[in-house]
Every structure is written in C-alpha cells, then in structure tokens.
C-alpha cells in the first residue's frame, strides 16, 4: 500500500474519524445522507429505441429490472449554495451543492452495494442531489478519504 507506516494505527484512526462523523450525524434518519441508485431496466422486442434502449411507449414493461436498495453509511455531508454567478440567457439558477466525505471502508461498501457503480443520487432530507461525481481522493498512509459532489435537482419534498 502506498505511504504505509508501521507506526500509523489505521484502524484506530478510522474509528476516531467515524466517531467524529457520528457526532455530527442528525438524529432523524431521513436527515442523513441516503445513497440511491437508479433502477437499470432492459427493454426488448418491438417498440424500443435502438439508440437509447428506452421504449417509445412509456408504459411498456421491461424484460428485466435491476433495482438497488437505498443505503446509508457513516459520512459527513456539507450543503452549500454556490457563490459564483450562474446566470444564463433565460435566468439565474441558484443550485445548492452537496459535498459528502467518507472513509475508504464506507466508499468500498457503496461500490460493492452498487455493483461497482457510485450512487446516481444522494438524498439529504427532502432534497435530491444528482450528477454525482467523485473529487480527488486524499490519502493518509493506509487510509483513503473520498469526496463525492452533487448538485440539487429539487429543493422541495419529493412527491413521487
């Protein structure tokens, strides 16, 4: 492992960081970050776009569906409104951003749960964050710290 040091107590370090994260965890489960994967559906037969694989009739039943359950792991979530100007030709969009920091064990748990894919959506309370990307991974000897970043698609309660 790059940067290993025999005197660095990786597991104790992780445990200490998790304790600090849990201190800041909201009491209500709904207010904690929830990681969600979009259901992968496969459509076959007539009436399916050869380009996107989606049906022309939105009521067509899929031949197969791979649904992944939502997951919550220990992490730190920071919400922020951007300070930069997001003016466009048709108006100004003020989108809330979300930064989620998690340790390597929890990151691996996410990847395993998602069959190798990072979550598509991060829910925080009633707000959905999409366009989830991973920023630079930071390392401290044997411990890696991962950062995920998302943009709000909806700032109201999800009614679906």
């Amino acid at each position: 492992m790059a940067g290993s040091h025999p005197d660095f107590p990786a597991q104790e370090f992780r445990a200490g960081i998790r304790e600090a994260m849990l201190m800041g965890f909201p009491g209500a489960t709904l207010q904690r970050p929830t990681f969600r994967w979009v259901t992968e559906r496969t459509f076959t037969g007539a009436g399916v776009s050869p380009v996107s694989g989606r049906p022309y009739d939105w009521g067509k039943q899929p031949a197969a569906s791979a649904k992944v359950a939502d997951l919550q792991v220990t992490c730190v979530a920071i919400q922020a409104k951007p300070s930069m100007d997001l003016a466009t030709a048709v108006g100004e969009f003020d989108e809330t951003k979300l930064t989620v920091v998690l340790l390597d064990d929890e990151y691996d748990e996410l990847l395993t749960h998602g069959a190798g894919d990072l979550p598509d959506v991060i829910l925080l309370g009633a707000t959905e964050y999409t366009n989830v990307i991973e920023l630079q991974t930071m390392g401290l000897f044997d411990v890696d710290v991962h950062t995920l970043f998302g943009s709000a698609a909806d700032t109201s309660a999800v009614t679906t």
Binding site: T39, R41, S49, S52, R54, Y56, W58, G59, K60, Q61, P62, S65, K67, T88, A89, V90, G91, E92, F93, D94, E95, E128, T130, N131, S151, A153, D154, T155, S156, V158, T159, T160
Partner: protein, 181 residues
C-alpha cells in the same frame, strides 16, 4: 361591453391555451404514472404548471411550464377601422429526466400546437377561447397558433439543464374594440 378587450382578454387567452395544452397532454397519456410489475415508476411523473421557473425554485423533472411573455402587436388589417392583428408570444419550458422523455414531450407539444393530432382533438392550429366567467364556459372567440419552434439548449453541469427543451409559439389574435361583434 359586447367583446373582450384588455387584461381580461389576455387572461382568457392564456387560460384557454393552457387548458388546451393540458387536455391534449392528458389525452396523450403524459399524466399517467406507468409502473413496472413491482409497482416502481417506469418514469418520473410529469407535471404541467402555468408559470415559469424562478432562480431559486424547485425544478424537478419531468416538468413543463407555460408562460406568456411578450405582446407583440399591432398590425393594422384594414383602413378606416381599429381591426388589428396582435401576436402574443408563449413559451413552454420542458425539464426532463433524460433526452428520450424530453425529445418525446417536446415533439408532442410541437405537433399538438400545430394541429397535427386530430385523434386527441388537436386537428387544427387554433384555440377556442372560453369565457371562464360563465358558470359553464363557452367559446367566445378563436385565436390561431403560429410560428411554433423548438430548441434544445444544452447546459453544462447539472442534470435538469442537460435535458431542457424550449418551445416558442405565437398566438395570433385579431379584434377591434369593445364594440366588436
């Protein structure tokens, strides 16, 4: 007053155009919520709203907002009278969950406005304007839909701007004054 002028006319036109769009999309099944065998939605529910999207409000796909933005009159139609042809510019902003839904919805909106869908009662590019002041609204005059155009501005970054379509159309309204019969 035997004819409709001023703000009431504009509001009746907007309300009637909005209702026409809403009813046509309903006829096309956009307000259905198809689910798979496990009861999970096959696409996100669609909503239509009679207003645009603010800079800090929610934009949850799939959603479309109808707005009337510009009054672009008047072209005099004949000498010696007040008859003018007036154009009201409408926009429909569509925010979809993916390109297929956006393209499908924008295409449906384009052709229902252009009167290409007689099967759902949209077989002509006109809208009958109803008087909603009446207990049972009846048609009081008719306006034409013209110059329907569609654009797909691709915005970088966030999901709801990736699948954003804008439709623009004009309502052509011809009338004289309050005494118009």
């Amino acid at each position: 007053m035997s004819a409709y002028v001023g703000g009431v006319r504009d509001r009746l036109i907007f309300d009637s155009v909005y209702a026409e769009i809403r009813d046509a999309l309903d006829g096309l099944g956009w307000f259905d919520d198809p689910v798979d065998s496990q009861g999970d939605p096959l696409r996100r529910p669609f909503r239509l709203q009679p207003e645009g999207f603010g800079d800090d409000g929610p934009v949850t796909p799939n959603v479309a907002g109808v707005t009337f933005s510009t009054y672009d009159g008047d072209d005099e139609m004949e000498m010696g009278s007040m008859l003018t042809e007036n154009r009201l510019v409408f926009y429909v902003d569509v925010y979809a969950e993916n390109d297929d839904v956006g393209r499908h919805l924008a295409g449906d909106l384009r052709d229902l406005l252009r009167g290409r869908m007689p099967s759902i009662g949209r077989g002509r590019p006109y809208v009958d304007v109803l008087d909603y002041n009446q207990a049972t609204p009846t048609t009081v005059f008719t306006v034409e839909i013209a110059n329907v155009s569609s654009d797909h501005p691709v915005g970088a970054g966030v999901e709801h701007r990736k699948h954003w379509w804008v439709l623009r159309f004009e309502i052509v309204d011809t009338y004289t004054d309050e005494d118009d019969e």
